[in-house]
């Protein structure tokens, strides 16, 4: 999980152009400046590319809904990677 968190953190830093950004599981879109709908899709595309996973449409929107946070994103990525192995 730590390896996934680090890789996703790198993607966040690239997409939001902030090299100091530190991810934690409780973080939400409210905590990251510029994390709007368009940036969310860019973020998903970059995660898909870097971590070789594929998100469904319903999952993409769920990851930005109220109650979702970086933790739920990391868990979903981990689950997808486990399934693909």
């Amino acid at each position: 999980m730590e390896e996934i968190r680090e890789q996703v953190q790198e993607v966040f830093r690239e997409v939001f152009e902030d090299s100091t950004l530190l991810l934690n599981a409780q973080m939400t879109a409210e905590d990251v400046e510029g994390w709007d709908s368009l940036a969310h899709i860019n973020l998903i595309i970059a995660i898909e590319k870097r971590l070789k996973v594929k998100f469904a449409t319903a999952e993409i929107s769920r990851l930005k809904e109220d109650g979702a946070n970086v933790g739920s994103m990391l868990e979903l990525v981990a689950r997808k990677r486990k399934l693909s192995q």
Binding site: S37, N42, I44, I45, T57, A58, S61
Partner: protein, 413 residues
């Protein structure tokens, strides 16, 4: 039958009074299915419509079943093209029926809530091929599509959320206080829909009629009367629209709660939105989210994956395509296309402005700008008036709106 009618409310209260005395979810599903069928029976006018509805729904279920077993994007695309074509013919869109033989174009099919069924079906199919429908059930699917609480209009519920409640159908309201709150919301919805909205509709009609009868010349009305009537047209219809639709949603959301169903909220103070992007997360929210998820997202994602460097600029094209389709979906006449395109312009303008601020002032400057209460007040007023002008195209055709605008401009000039 209208949801604002006494018969509907009486039937709903009767249903909710006996509903949880039934032993187990199967009996409750059965009773709710009977109510769905009875409600539909009152609204479907002829045999042709029943056959078309059956084909529409069963084909969607069958294709979703196939897509789960053998995910094929070619099958999905081919079915969606056929589905949309069938929708355009059934709803009698002029640009389609003009090219069809009279025997087909003049069909007698009339299905209430077909636009909403189409969007639910598209979501169901896309989620099915992407493995997001855990359990497929024809019984649940038909009741999802024909659910009396979402049949005629929004909110647009997702199948997964429907199924979560449907499979158990137990009480969702924890105590008597919550039940009384649901009853109160039902009453508020009725008052909004049957009285206040109806009052604003009559005010709008009076103003619109006066402007139209002036026939392009403000002099026939008098300068101040023309301006007054234009302001009436500009403000009364959006107020009516909000009260009518949010009142309707109050009734169906509260009614659904009384029988163990949870529908998504559809409004969140829409006329306090600070830009058009924000507006679509507040007004008819479930439609806004549907447009985002099933039109904008696949379009933009496809483009951004192929041409990542040009994605930022091509996002605007996606806004226009998505809102053009959303506009056409609202109705078969050209005024809805104008409405959709105006929304796309509004969304694009909000995005361009945000990028401009970001480039000029950086993240800190943008944050400061967004926190300013003065800026917020101006943004809310600007968005409100932009939306009110767009909504002029909702109840009237383009020549009528142009005529009303011309009369108002002449009066001001």
């Amino acid at each position: 039958m209208s949801v604002a009618s006494l018969q509907f409310v009486a039937a709903l209260l009767l249903l909710s009074a006996v509903f949880f005395y039934l032993p187990g979810s199967q009996w409750r599903q059965g009773l709710l299915a009977v109510c769905n069928a009875a409600f539909l029976y009152l609204l479907i006018p002829n045999g042709a419509s029943w056959v078309a509805l059956g084909l529409f729904l069963l084909s969607g279920y069958a294709v979703a079943w196939l897509l789960r077993k053998w995910p094929s994007h070619m099958l999905l695309s081919a079915y969606l093209v056929a589905l949309v074509a069938a929708f355009l013919i059934m709803r009698k869109y002029e640009f389609v029926t003009a090219n069809l033989p009279d025997s087909i174009a003049a069909h007698a099919v009339s299905i209430v809530g077909l636009s909403y069924m189409l969007f639910r079906q598209v979501h169901f199919l896309v989620d099915a091929i992407q493995g997001q429908i855990e359990r497929l059930s024809l019984w649940a699917y038909v009741n999802y599509q024909l659910n009396l609480f979402t049949l005629l209009s929004g909110p647009i519920q997702r199948y997964q959320d429907f199924y979560d409640r449907w499979k158990e159908l137990g009480p969702v309201l924890e105590d008597g206080h919550a039940v009384r709150r649901a009853h109160f919301r039902l009453l508020i919805g009725l008052i909004k829909l049957a009285f206040i909205a109806a009052f604003f509709m009559s005010l709008y009609q009076r103003s619109a009629q006066a402007l139209i009868q002036a026939d392009g010349g403000a002099s026939a009305l008098g300068q101040y009367a023309a301006i007054g009537h234009f302001l009436g047209v500009l403000y009364f219809y959006p107020i009516y629209l909000y009260l009518n639709f949010s009142g309707y949603c109050d009734i169906v959301i509260a009614g659904a709660l009384l029988v163990g169903m949870k529908l998504p909220e559809n409004f969140d103070k829409p006329y306090l939105a600070r830009n058009v992007i924000d507006f679509w997360t507040r007004f008819h929210r479930t439609l806004g989210f549907w447009i985002r998820d099933y039109l904008f997202l696949p379009l933009y994602k496809g483009i951004a994956e192929r041409w990542p460097r040009r994605a930022d600029s091509l996002a605007f094209l996606c806004y226009f395509v998505a809102f053009f389709i959303a506009g056409v979906w609202h109705g078969p006449t050209a005024n809805f296309v104008v409405y959709g395109l105006l929304q796309a312009i509004g969304v694009s303008a909000a995005k361009i402005w945000e990028r401009h601020l970001l480039k000029r002032h950086g993240r800190a400057g943008l944050r400061q700008y967004l926190q300013s209460s003065r800026v917020r007040a101006v943004a809310i007023a600007g968005t409100l008036h932009f939306e009110f002008i767009s909504i002029l195209f909702f109840p009237a055709d383009i020549p009528t709106v142009v005529q009303m605008l011309r009369t108002a401009f002449r009066a001001v000039a």
